[in-house]
Symmetry: C2
Subunit: 478 residues, 2 copies
Amino acid sequence: MSVLKKNSARQRDQERARLIWLLTTDKAVTSTLLGKLTLAEQYDVGTLADDIAEVGALVAHLPPPDLADTLEALPSEERHALWRLVQDHERGQVLLEASENVWDDLIDEMSDRDILDALQTLDIDEQIYLVQHLPRNLTGRLLASLPADERARVRQVMHYEKNSVGAIMEFGVITVRPDVTLGTVQRYLRRLGKMPDNTDKLFVTSRDKTLLGELELKTILLNSTQRRVSEVMENEPMVFSPEDDAEKAARTFERDDLVSAAVVDSVGKLMGRLTVDEIVDVVYEETDNDLRALGGISAEDDVHASVGKAVKTRWAWLAINLCTAFIASRVIDGFEHTISQLVALASLMPIVAGIGGNTGNQTITMIVRALALENIQPGNFAFLIFREMGVALINGLVWGGIMGGITWWLYDDMALGGVMMLAMVLNLLVASMMGVIIPLTMTKLGRDPAVGSSVMITAITDTGGFFIFLGLATLFLL
Amino acid sequence: MSVLKKNSARQRDQERARLIWLLTTDKAVTSTLLGKLTLAEQYDVGTLADDIAEVGALVAHLPPPDLADTLEALPSEERHALWRLVQDHERGQVLLEASENVWDDLIDEMSDRDILDALQTLDIDEQIYLVQHLPRNLTGRLLASLPADERARVRQVMHYEKNSVGAIMEFGVITVRPDVTLGTVQRYLRRLGKMPDNTDKLFVTSRDKTLLGELELKTILLNSTQRRVSEVMENEPMVFSPEDDAEKAARTFERDDLVSAAVVDSVGKLMGRLTVDEIVDVVYEETDNDLRALGGISAEDDVHASVGKAVKTRWAWLAINLCTAFIASRVIDGFEHTISQLVALASLMPIVAGIGGNTGNQTITMIVRALALENIQPGNFAFLIFREMGVALINGLVWGGIMGGITWWLYDDMALGGVMMLAMVLNLLVASMMGVIIPLTMTKLGRDPAVGSSVMITAITDTGGFFIFLGLATLFLL
């Protein structure tokens, strides 16, 4: 069983880790590969030569998706070194599998011609995807290389938005007519000699390309060869339009356990198909985007981006945050007189603000998630706000009560304790209400509820917390 | 083409939305379905009867996965009303597709017997999954209902951890021998008459169940019926062990575009298979967990949980947050004398703390994400810390400089501006360093880096920010 063992998932994981280890632990390996160092300059030539030979063997053995993942896990210099070892005929596939973050590094030493050559090994839909999104614009050059009829079709596909079904669909489909027998289908398939990846079904179309049904491979195998396609085909298949949202399509794939599905135009003609491998990518990307958006980092930022790039991608969030913090600071400044009378307020106010920010962010995370899962419907808005405010009221009374008690005991001032409690209750109510309203409003306005929600809620709970607490103190304590 | 149109993804989305709308907009619909109201008590019987008929028609038309999603999108009472309409033979499937959050509501009106009956329609692996994780413990009763030999196998499977491949694998596999012809395989399949869902390949095993290779359905169709299985099978298939981590398996499925894969034991015997539909669920769940963890909400909390449940699931985070805020407050309290001398400090200190928290959370989000994508390797630790601190230093100098300038201008106090700038630089450095160290340390300790990281970093940047700013002010300004 040693053959099988070799290809276990764990083994491949180890090979990738080993490759990264070889490239990152001894700087000389990368330097030599990049031609900055010759073997003769090395003190320990034997080990270095062994390491480089092993790197070469691993690169030759690992398939493109693993190479892509390895490239992503490497710092910029090592990434260049590894990319040089990737063979020309695999480069297109590796580019396709690698995430956008690393494209910059990979293509910066390649000429336009090199890139287009690398793309030759890919399907036309994959080529289109890459030329449209690579940092260098090669769309024109790709179009010029295509025959005229193909060009028209490609131009049409390029119109679909990035997150639509049209942008991720494949053109490679096998179609059959409804009136032939399964035996004929089998002979036809054998003559074709191959099928596109992730083909679990053929599409049954009329002469004018109208989709009539689907024929699963399984159905062909389970039924007698005498039967006609029209008798055994699924005639209510799940179909998508190219304008459909890719993330929604992913939910449908998950819901219906699909492996592939037809994409049809507005009059029901077959345009292409969606496959589960693209869908899995969409799911990873979608949730990754939500995580990044809630954490305030942009899609271009990654752990291996250079310092300069990271500064550039993050400065906007910092600037916004600084503005909101500055506004909160001005609110406090307005109560300078109150604070100078009672310095204890200065040390207590961050508690009120902090607890509000925490609750607001909890609420927002839950709402963003529920929106993504389509668990929120128009009928629920009022219910949601009341529920969150109910939770906030209880938490405010309990924790505000405890904190009020502690404040009373610490400063021996019952009125101060009362103000503390009241401020916490009020700020939690504000936080929970805005935590529902902000993401839902952003969705209504057609914006991504994850982007910026967290910054906004923190701004509100900080400013609001300081205002409520210091305002109440001014009213009741001076 | 009207038949096809009916089953477009969009149409199903609309049907689900319609069902939710019917149940949530008119309270009378739900009340009537729950038997709390009779038709005779209604002022507008005609409309109500129509609505209820439409609800019934939609429930009958929508397949179990859509019903599960609809149930998740409803508040508790409407959820009960809808669940009553779900037919007995579909209940098992709906339960399986619904998320854990709603199980409570669904089974609370069912007896143990009802539940076990509902499970009868499911495969044994699905039954095991449900009885193990349903809020009511039915494992014993399920085991008792099984024949002795099955029971032994089930007991063994139950040992696998929740996030392992063993817990999500399926037993339903079709195996063939290597020495038969493809024609024989086809006859065998036709005799079987059906295949498990998501079957894209058969498994080739020896008489003692040792996995020898895989035979794709596609291969059967593309090759002559005279050829032998052993000649055309894939003999280096990707295999998993039941102990493998499910999230890692999901990465491998994504990487290799798999639809199904064999699960083998330590000596290479076939135990079952993993399918892409389970993998898509794992991906959604994984990223959902990360989002929840970073946002500080637990897996049991959802938008339709009752107020009581929401209070219960969130109190721990609030308590922790309150403790850390209290510690930060005590730090400020230690500088009471300083603040009373210079009240401006009170309004400026939240800026220093806030900007640190923001940067720390950006870093943590990025690291958590990179850990999930396996983009961080041991060789990168030092690089990551230096890079993040480099970014922090630049941002600190730029934004600290701007803020220092504004402070100087606002308060006409150059020393105060200098303290502001220095404090911001230092707190950003602390934030970025801890933003790398916290999640990586938690990973080293075998804990989920997403859980608690955000709270910890905020605690550190708050306390640290106040201490650094007020400490510097005490040193230089008094």
